[in-house]
């Protein structure tokens, strides 16, 4: 606590932002970051094979994936979270299975809901990018005698990722903002911390503005990260030459 003396001094005349509530916000920030980061990584890992399958010409592959993305994009994330969190307990005997230690917590049901949701959106973003591959590139690859797999790996996916990047950056920001609903299943994320402070000190403006400011900072960080990525990866699309 000694190294926080300056913080205590700063907060001395303040009823709401005590070191304790700052700690709540900090813990909330950690939970939000973990939740969003893990669900994005897992969603991305799921979305790549799904997007390839979704752009397949074989209907028995693409149709089930389409149904999945349609359902998860067609229903509110909040409802999906409720179904996964409150719905699972209506399976008799779930408390006795090995899944219960995971489903008992609020974190994992939220993580599952967020992952499935972002995977559905990301699948569609990538599918669009794969479909938009110029025919010439594919024909050239075929002319070189590349197999389907090699062509996917060397030609289609790298250029699809680049095309998908701006849209995917938006999805990441949407996911951060959507994570605010995690507090309805008692998770103490950033919004959960704000709701706690609001309810305890009856101070809606202070509690939520502070949380909003943190979300804003996170959004800017994501925005700059993607701008940097775009600058590097899409450099070849910029106008070339001396003028």
């Amino acid at each position: 606590m000694e190294n926080l003396a300056w913080l205590n001094e700063l907060l001395a005349d303040n009823r709401i932002f005590t070191p304790q509530t700052i700690a709540y916000y900090w813990d909330g920030l950690v939970v939000t970051t973990q939740l969003v980061f893990l669900s994005l990584v897992a969603g991305l890992v799921l979305a790549i094979p799904l997007a390839i399958g979704r752009s397949s010409n074989r209907r028995w592959i693409s149709l089930p994936i389409y149904v999945y993305t349609y359902v998860f994009r067609g229903t509110p994330l909040l409802i999906q979270l409720y179904i996964i969190y409150y719905g699972v307990v209506f399976f008799d005997g779930i408390q006795q299975t090995f899944l219960w230690p995971i489903l008992r917590e609020a974190f994992y049901p939220a993580l599952i809901a967020f992952t499935l949701n972002t995977a559905a959106y990301t699948t569609e973003i990538f599918r669009g990018a794969i479909k938009a591959t110029p025919r010439g590139e594919i024909e050239a690859a075929k002319a070189y005698g590349m197999s389907q797999g090699l062509m996917m790996r060397r030609i289609v996916l790298p250029s699809a990722f680049r095309r998908a990047l701006p849209a995917y950056g938006n999805e990441v920001i949407f996911m951060l903002h959507a994570s605010a609903i995690a507090s309805v299943v008692t998770l103490m994320d950033l919004t959960g911390a704000a709701r706690f402070v609001y309810a305890r000190f009856y101070a809606p403006f202070e509690a939520f503005l502070f949380a909003a400011a943190i979300y804003l900072c996170l959004t800017f960080a994501i925005l700059y990260f993607f701008r940097y990525l775009e600058k590097r990866l899409l450099a070849h699309l910029k106008p070339q030459g001396g003028n």
């Binding site: 008992r104 706690f196 609001y198 309810a199 305890r200 809606p204």
Partner: protein, 255 residues
Amino acid sequence: MKNAFLASLAGVVLVFGQAHARDSYDHVRFGVDVPYEPMQYRTPDGELTGFDIDLGNALCEQMGITCEWIEQQWDGIIPGLMARNYDAIMSSMTINEERRAQVLFSDAYFTPPSAWFGPVDTDIEMPSEESLAGRTLGVQRGTLQDSYATDFYGDVASVRRYSSVDDMLLDMESGRLDLVFVNYPVGKTTLLDSERSEYRVVGEMIREPYEYFGDGIAIAFRPRDEALAERFNEALAALKEDGTYDEIHDRYFTD
């Protein structure tokens, strides 16, 4: 033209000023957090009922005014009063210092204790820092039970906060919570008297410390509505006098 404008302005000021000075409410809107059985809840056919509701309606009748109930989730109930979404809060709100800084309370009309509830087979006998270490505790967000559990056990146990009592009970039933901490009449009605009563009170009734549990429950008003609070106090005294209060009390509390 200018004079007409000024005259009408003066008229407006006069009308509003008068309405304000009389401070006469002939219609009072109560903010209430539903469900909180048996204090306030809906019957199967959707009718609003409960101790707070019946007493509030009886008070209004006694005062010769009409009243209306507006539902509001607990964690926003005081800001809602300040935002004039309703004129008073009659929702089992305990008088304590933190709230007294925000609202004006009537006289207390009931003094329920709080209690811990858990499954019949729980191995916790007496809630303490040791016995609750590592456990999961449920409370309703922004209640005095939330403040108490957070301050006393927040460091050793994980406190999960719910927007409504219903959500909390659902998680209790599914086994996500080890104990819940609620106002005793609410826990008794919803957990002990439920159809498959698999719950019991863990430890003793809790009424202390005073900073948390205060002086009992009361109606909350905006601080400027002193006259209105006074009228409610008189009506409450009258209902206690003529036995109406006892009659309503016995409708909901057997012991």
